[in-house]
Every structure is written in C-alpha cells, then in structure tokens.
Amino acid sequence: MFLKKFAELPPRKRIGLVAILLGVIAVFAGDPTSKARTTIDAKEIALLSDKDIAEVNAVDLADWIIKGKYDYRLVDVRKKNKFEKYNIPSSENVPITQLLSSDLLRNEKIILYGESERTASQAWFLLKSAKYKSVSMLKGGVESWKKEVLFPQCTCGVNPSVEQKHNHNKLAEVSKFFGGGMQSGSVEATTTQMKMPTLKAPSKIKLKKAGGKKKREGC
C-alpha cells in the first residue's frame, strides 16, 4: 500500500523521501569515524600474524632516532605513569585503551612498544583489525631497548678484533647518546646497578650525560 503510493510519486519526490530517510537513519547510526566498531577478517589477521608481524630491532630504532629519520610514529602503549618514568626519545604515549580514538592515521607507519612484546602485540592486533596499514613492533619492547641500547653488554673477548672494537665503540656511543652506558660482566651482576635515565615527557633528543652508574669501559 505504502510502497504503491511511493512508486506513484514523481521521481524527485521519491529521491527526496529516500534522502530524508537516510538522514534520519544517520542521526541514530552513531559516529561514522569511530574505529571501535570494526569487522575482523580473522583469517587475514591470522595469516598476517603468521608471517608478517613487522618487527623493528632496538639497535635499528636507535640508529633511526640518532639519524633523525622520522617517517614513522613511535608509540608507547604503556600506562601514563610508566611512560613518564621512562620512554624512548621521540615516542608519544597512547595507552592501549585510547589507541583507536587517538590521532594516529591509518596510512601512517606506526612502531609500537610496551614493556615487553605482550602489550605491543595486543595493540598490534587492535590496530590491524581496525585496518591500519603499516604497524610494526619494537622487538622485545623496553626490556630489549634497555639491554641492547641503553646498557649493552660488552661481547668482545680478551683480545678483540678491529671489527669487535669498532662495534663496541659504536654501542658505547649509542648508549651514551640515550643516557645509558656500556656494561661489562654478566647481566645478572649489572642489571641491579643500572639506573634508567630520567626523562621528562615528551622527551627531546639531546646528548645526555650517562645516567647509569659509570662502568669500566673497554674490553
């Protein structure tokens, strides 16, 4: 009955009515820009996590920061208090609960990190299911950053080769840049004495004096 009446109307009136109907639905449809409501292609995500979770190694990331490579956004997904206590320079804090409402854009290259890989993996899953294009994680999270960049272990033996010496000096310089220092001896012996460099958020990149306890340098 109603449809018959509708069909009898002139085309422009029909179009107008459809437009009003779409407008009314839109009022109740909710925010179209919200990324919270998403359909997950479970198979696609499974395949992606099987082969293609892009990981960035802490040493490479340190290298990028020093060289001033900024085609990515470094995102700390830990809680605010942890971020304020220590964060990797040039990072921004987006706790995992605010991830989808943040200003991160879907076409940006995003590198996530948490304390370990666990939180970052969850964040990766969230972003990937909301169809973010390029999301990678810092391998090993802050823990790795601490071990590989801030307080790297001296790996050379008693008589280091030229290459080993060169590597050692590079690591030492990098750790110094980020306010850490080269470690010697076993990990167990040194981690207790390591003090994280203190930073204020948002952190700026600048050369800092070693915050950690001064260690014996050289091999």
Binding site: G23, A26, A29, G30, P32, R106, N107
Partner: protein
C-alpha cells in the same frame, strides 16, 4: 581495501595522474551537461529565473555527503584521511564575497569558465584571462596582505567538530536544508515566470 586508495598506497603517483585525468574528464563533461557551461544559466541563479545550477550543485553536495557518511560508517572509507582545506575564517569570508560578486557580474566561477571555454565561449575566455590577471595581481600585493591572509586560522575543522554535534545530525540538517532549498527554488522560479508573463502581457 579501504579508501582513500591513493593515501593507502594502492596505486602510485603515475597511476594517480591517470585517475585524476579520467575523473577530470568526467567532472568536466557532467559540469557542462549540468548547465554550468553557460554564463546566462549561471547568472540566472541570482535572478531566480532558472535554478538548475543551484539544484545540480546542492544535489551533488548532499549525495556526496550521504555517500561519504555511509561508506565511512560501513568501514570502506577513512574520513580522517579525506583531504579538505584548512579554515581561515575572515579571509575566506572576504574571499567568498569577492568570488560571489565576480560570479554575478562575470557569469562564471573559475571552474565553470574552463568548462565554458571548451565550448568556445568568448566571454569565458575573457573571464579566465581576468582570473589569471587577478592571480598575478594577488601575488604582487601578497606581502601587504599576508598578515590578513593568515589570520583567524582554525585549522582543519569540519562542521560536526566545530559545532560539537554528531555527524549524523549535521547530515540530517543538510538534507533538510537541501530539500527546503529545492522547494524554495521551485517557488522562486514559478514566481519569476509569473512576473515575466505579466510583463509580456503589459507590453
């Protein structure tokens, strides 16, 4: 796949030029067919004698808005990546006034003059030349108006953000505005036709 395709890197710069060319062709063709290639037709909007251009334009705006809303709602499009210009309120009000005055006097806006040139309209060619000269003049006086040019900057902001209301409500209001506009345009056309008929009778 999620739009905008170019920003997600589904095609490169070269392909984007081809896409732009094809879209440009379609745009120009539909513009011309929509009646935008005639200065008389365009100027008629301002005298309420033939509101075709107004109707085409507002239909396009409303259709695009409904389409973008629902595509984004269904997750096929990321609206935050769709480009639109930043708002500089005062300079844009002044610019809009100048454009409007030019539109009534010249019978064209920049886009429609290009469309009209394609059909060999001499007035459109003169109009476009004037436009180029205006661009040149603007460039020359820019140092003096630079402060004004950059004033009242509001950033990239759209109506829902500015008014702090839901996107859906803005959409609904724009649809109502369009329908009211079309009804008003029809009414204006009829009124002007009556007046004209009366004038013809008198003479």
């Amino acid at each position: 796949m999620i739009a905008p395709f170019y920003k997600f890197g589904y095609f490169n710069d070269e392909v984007s030029l081809i896409v732009a060319f094809v879209l440009g062709l379609a745009f120009g063709f539909l513009f011309e067919r929509g009646g935008f290639g005639s200065g008389r037709m365009l100027a008629a909007q301002f005298y309420f004698t033939d509101m075709r251009v107004f109707k085409v334009m507002f239909t396009a705006i409303t259709t695009a808005m409904i389409g973008l809303f629902y595509l984004s709602w269904m997750g096929f499009l990321d609206l935050s990546l769709v480009y639109f210009g930043e708002t500089y309120l005062l300079p844009q009000v002044v610019g809009g006034l100048i454009l409007g005055i030019g539109f009534v006097i010249g019978g064209y806006c920049p886009g429609t003059s290009s469309v009209a040139i394609s059909t060999g309209k001499i007035d459109a060619m003169v109009y476009a030349l004037g436009g180029l000269f205006g661009i040149f003049g603007f460039g020359e006086i820019f140092p003096w108006i630079e402060d004004f040019f950059n004033s009242t900057h509001m950033g990239k902001i759209n109506l829902p953000e500015f008014l702090g209301i839901d996107y859906g409500i803005v959409l609904f209001v724009v649809i109502l505005m369009a329908i009211a506009g079309f009804t008003g345009a029809d009414w204006g056309e009829k009124l002007m036709a009556k007046k004209k008929a009366a004038q013809v009778k008198e003479s």
